[in-house]
Each structure stands twice: as C-alpha cells, then as structure tokens.
C-alpha cells in the first residue's frame, strides 16, 4: 500500500510543478501580446476618423487619444491593462466603444459550440476508422482509410466549407440560414445549422486522430497481454475493445491538446465561410479595423485557452497512465 501512496505523492508533486510552470508562460504571453500590438501601424484614432477625409482638427484627435488612454506612457498602459484583465475587465473596444468582455461574451457560445461539435464529430469518425485501419492493416480497407486521412491534413478547412455549401445548394437546394439560432431556443435548427461548419473544421482533426489511433493500436496489438488474452480464449471482439482499444486511447487524448491550435485556426477561417458571427470572425474584423484592445484581448484569450488545454491534457495523462515515471 505504501508504494501507492508514494506514487500519488510523486504525481501530485508533478502536477504542482506543471501548474506553477504555467504562470511565467502566461505572463510572458501577456507581455508579448501587449507589446506586439503596440507596434501595429495605423493608429486606431486615425482609422476611426478616416471617414472624415482627414479634415479632423488636431485637438479633436488629441482629445480622443486622451479619452482612450493612448497618451500615457506604455508601461502605465500595460499595468492598467493587466490589472483589469486579472479582474475580468478587458477594457473597451476601440471600434464599437462597448466593453470587450460583452463583445466576446455574445459570440463565445457559437464558437465554443462549433469547437465542441467538431471535436465530438472528429472522435466519432476517427475511432472506428482508426480501429478498422489497424485491424485490416495493408488490405484495401486500410489503404482507403489512410488516403482519406492523409488528404484530411491537406484540405484547407475553408475550402472544405465552401464545397459543403456548394453541395448543399446543388443537391438539397438548401441555403444555410443567415441568423444564428441558439441551441437552447431550438436545438434541431441549431444543430442542422452548425453541423456543417463543425464538419469542415473537424475533418482535419479526425484525420489526425485516425492516424494516431491506427499507429498506437498496431503497437498495442503486439503486446504480450494481447497474446495472453487471445490464448485464454477471450473473444476477438473483446480483445480488441477491452484490451487493445482502451490502451490505445491515451495518445488520442494527447492529440486533443496538440490539435487545439488547428481547431482555432479552422474556426477563424470557417466562420468567414459560413458567415457565423463568432470569435474567429471578430478576430479577423478586429485585425482589419486595427482594433488593438480587442485584438490583444482575443489573442490573450485564445492563447490562455491553448495553454490551459495543454496543461489539462498533461495532467490527465499523469493521472491516467500509471506507467509514466516522474523524477
């Protein structure tokens, strides 16, 4: 019993270390985001007044800068920003003038839902495909699945989205609705609307998981305990599902963390294609509007999510896999 206790202690220490290591990274990310966006050309005040044709008096420009706090020294701006961020106050959008937390809040549900749906869809497609591919290694089934999954890494998600819309228009004469219905209002309408962007984003993800599942399953099937199980006379189906697949699931968890970055990237471009008013669209719009405050909040938010997802995956790994040794 004692060794179990020590093992737990060691895992706990590893978890504590890993969590503490995240803090300097987060701070570094915040610093980098802040200073990167300060170097952006095209002052937001200029962008705001561009419509007036450059006939704005200098005093008005100065007053506007003072109102937005852009006339203060940069360290002061950073200190003010970071204390706000820690309290959940991201400041105001330079473009709309509304609080950033509000602007992000109204769009978050949509993006998070597409991301979750894409992940679920990808895993649902990938687990059976990866398993089939490994079980029927080097047969035509395997070849077809491998080609599908290699292609998945090459097809840009925005183009896949366009092709999906094209097919929907041509075959079903169905035009994707322009207005987003929340899942809580009308689940069916919501799902039928968001399943397509989720598919466009999730295809790449499913390919990665399929490849991962295939290679780990092939490795696991070589293990001694699989031979033992077969020798005991366990049904082949049970050998595959209980002994092999369970142990092949760990790398699939890892992929979730690694692929999160691509999921975000997929969302950014796919929301343009499907005209979804989510975080990705807001991001691209903020870039073209030179909306610095909005951009720094979004980049920070996405990066923090990415760091936390990878942290969660690491911790899950430590808990799930007793074979890993920590020093």
């Amino acid at each position: 019993m004692l060794h179990v206790f020590f093992r737990r202690l060691i895992v706990l220490r590893h978890i504590a270390n890993r969590v503490l290591l995240v803090i300097p990274t987060l701070l570094g990310v915040a610093l980098l985001v802040f200073f990167m966006l300060r170097m952006m050309p095209g002052d937001v005040v200029e962008v705001m007044f561009r419509g007036e044709g450059g006939n704005v008096p200098q005093e008005v420009v100065e007053a506007e800068k003072a109102r937005l706090g852009l006339d203060k020294p940069i360290p002061v701006q950073f200190a003010k920003w970071i204390t706000g961020v820690v309290q959940g106050d991201f400041g105001y959008s330079l473009w709309t003038g509304k609080p950033i937390a509000h602007e992000i809040g109204i769009r978050l549900e949509l993006s998070v839902q597409v991301a979750i749906m894409a992940t679920i869809l990808a895993v649902l497609i990938a687990l059976p495909l990866g398993t089939l591919s490994a079980l029927y290694k080097d047969t035509w089934i395997d070849q077809v699945i491998r080609v599908i999954s290699i292609a998945g890494l090459a097809v840009p998600s925005f183009w896949l989205g366009m092709i999906i819309i094209l097919l929907l228009l041509a075959v079903f004469h169905w035009n994707p609705p322009l207005i987003f219905t929340s899942f809580f209002e009308d689940p069916m309408a919501n799902l039928s609307q968001l399943i397509w962007p989720a598919l466009a984003v999730g295809y790449r993800y499913s390919s990665v998981v399929t490849r991962m599942m295939r290679s780990t399953l092939l490795e696991v099937l070589q293990e001694d305990y699989i031979r033992t199980a077969r020798a005991k006379g366990v049904f082949e189906r049970l050998v595959v599902v209980r002994h092999a697949m369970r142990n092949a699931m760990l790398p699939v968890v890892t992929v979730t963390g690694l692929e999160f970055a691509f999921l975000i990237g997929g969302l950014v471009v796919t929301e343009q294609v499907f005209n979804l008013n989510g975080i990705g669209k807001l991001f691209v719009e903020s870039v073209s509007r030179a909306d610095n405050t909005m951009l720094q909040a979004l980049v920070l938010l996405v990066s923090v999510c990415y760091i936390l997802v990878n942290l969660a995956v690491d911790l899950l790994y430590a808990i799930l896999d007793p074979r890993i040794r920590y020093r």
Binding site: V29, M39, A151, W159, F262, I264, G265, V284
Partner: protein, 310 residues
C-alpha cells in the same frame, strides 16, 4: 547510452581517432532509385512537387492566357475548349491563374519555411551548445511563442508588420508565416544537437581551440541536417496552407497577384451556383500541393530518421 544521431556513420565516428575531423560519411550508391522503390508514396509526392515547380517556372510559356488580362466579353464563362477551367468574374482564365498561383504558393512556401527552419536550427543548436542559463531563457521564450495557435500568431504578425514588397514578394508575409515555425524547429534540432554535443569530436574541436561559431557551424549544424531537412519539407506544406488561409482572409497576397487562397475569396463566394469552377479548382490546387509535400515529408522522415516527431 543511446544517441539519436541522424546521419548514418556518426556512431562509427566515435570509434575513429578524435582528430579525424574531415571524416566523410560514405554515400549510398543510388539514393534516388532506392528512395523511389522503398517509398513509392513519397516518390509520388516528389513527382507532384516537381510538376508544380516546372509549372511555376515555365508559367509564362505554358499558361494559355495572361493572368491579369480582363475580358468583359467572357465573364464567369463555363469550362470549355477555350477556357479549360472557365473564367472568373473579371473574365480572367482560371487555369492560367491556377498555374501562376503555383509560383506564389511555392515562392512563399519555400522562402518562409527556409527562413523559419534556418532561424529555428540556429536557435536550437545555440541553445543546446551553450546550455545553462542561455538554454533556459531561450526555451522559455520558445515556450511563449509556442503558446500562440499558429494562425493567430501569423495573423497578428501580418497585421503588425503590414506589407513590404520586394521583387514582387511580400517579405513581411514570409516573416509572418515563418515565425510560428521557429520554436517547433528549434525544439527538434535542440534535442538532436544535445546528443551531438556530448560526442568526443566536439570535445576534440574544443581542445583544438576552435571558436564557438566554428564548432556550431562546421561541426554541429552539418550533423543536424537530417532533422533540419525533415522539418523543412514538412513545413513547406504548412506554409502553403497558411499562405492560402491568410490570403483568403485578405491579409496575405493581394489582388491582382494570382494566388490560390485569394482566388477563393470575394467574388468566388458570391457566385457559388453560377460559377462553381471558381472555387473548386484553386482549392484542389492547394490540397494537391499540401498533400504532395506531406507525402514527401513523411517518407523523407521514414527514410532519414523515423524517430523524429514533427
């Protein structure tokens, strides 16, 4: 001790006298033929890449039209014998623009992955060679850069840098695409260089009084060429994909330059039903190019050093 040394012959090197600095790695007799027979998929990828390079170089001669020629008599024309892949909303020939697009894609893809992997290799080797505090600081910085999703970083970089066109190529776009690759390459190269640093011939070079720069460039970098080449080819595909995404979002290549990502934006999206050829073919070109580079990169890894994780 397990060395993860890439190039063949290094393991033998530790057995040779320490001063044999001009040791030559014995060449395989017919590497290209062996690559084609053992890695047929990789060879297929290579063939597609070569065709693309040929199309890009000879675009002036093989493309049937001028990529910028506007033809108002032939707006959104269907694919026909005159225009094999149809025309776009300005009457420009789609086939011509796809062929010229290969030029943009390859130029941006190669240049940015070359820049990204070279920077990454130098940083990775320096980090491994000097070790200690320098290593720690560099690794933390790389961790920070790695915490940005690739496209978010590239978009932010593109927005910050703006445009800076030299010889028809947007240098800042290349920097924006190269930046996210640097830490990934640095990490892989660093781990290879860490193993090489411990080998006796490095000690020998140090004893001989060679400078750090000479040891890094003459003794370590040539021996991390395998992971470097693998990362380089793997990233060309990524870079093409990234360039297409940025151009699609209006932050990459700009009109009227023919580029695949750019061909999918704007008017293409407005004429889904009238002119599907406007979106089908440029997208196919992107997919085929990235597919070819992925196949080739994967096979090159299996060929040179299967242990490397990209």
């Amino acid at each position: 001790m397990q060395y993860s040394t890439p190039a063949s012959g290094i393991a033998d090197m530790s057995a040779t006298p320490a001063l044999a600095i001009t040791y030559k790695v014995p060449k395989k007799r017919r590497p290209v033929a062996a690559f084609i027979t053992r890695q047929p998929l990789g060879a297929m990828g290579l063939a597609i890449i070569l065709v693309m390079i040929f199309a890009a170089i000879s675009a002036n001669w093989i493309a049937p039209y001028d990529p910028l020629a506007v033809d108002y008599g032939n707006l959104l024309a269907k694919p026909s014998s005159g225009h094999w892949l149809g025309t776009d909303s300005y009457g420009r020939d789609v086939l011509t623009r796809v062929i010229y697009g290969a030029r943009t894609a390859l130029a941006v893809g190669f240049l940015s992955s070359l820049l990204g992997s070279m920077l990454g290799a130098v940083i990775g080797v320096a980090s491994a060679y000097f070790g200690g505090k320098i290593d720690l600081v560099i690794q933390r910085l790389m961790d920070v850069i790695l915490s940005f999703p690739i496209i978010v970083l590239a978009l932010a970089m593109a927005a910050i840098l703006g445009k800076n066109i030299v010889f028809g190529i947007d240098v800042n776009l290349i920097i924006a695409i190269a930046t996210p690759m640097v830490p990934a390459v640095a990490r892989v190269v660093r781990s290879s260089a860490l193993a090489i640093r411990e080998l006796p011939y490095i000690d020998a070079a140090r004893t001989a009084g060679f400078s750090h720069l000479r040891i890094i460039f003459r003794h370590i970098i040539p021996n991390v060429m395998a992971p470097f080449l693998i990362m380089l080819t793997a990233f060309v595909g990524q870079a093409i994909l990234l360039e297409a995404s940025l151009s699609f979002l209006g932050l990459g290549v700009t009109e009227p330059t023919p580029a695949w990502g750019l061909m999918l934006t704007g008017a293409a999206a407005d004429f889904y039903q009238q002119a599907p050829w406007m979106i089908v073919f440029p997208g196919l070109a992107i997919s085929l190019a990235v597919f070819a580079f992925n196949l080739f990169g994967d096979s090159l890894r299996d060929w040179l050093d299967p242990k490397i994780k990209i």
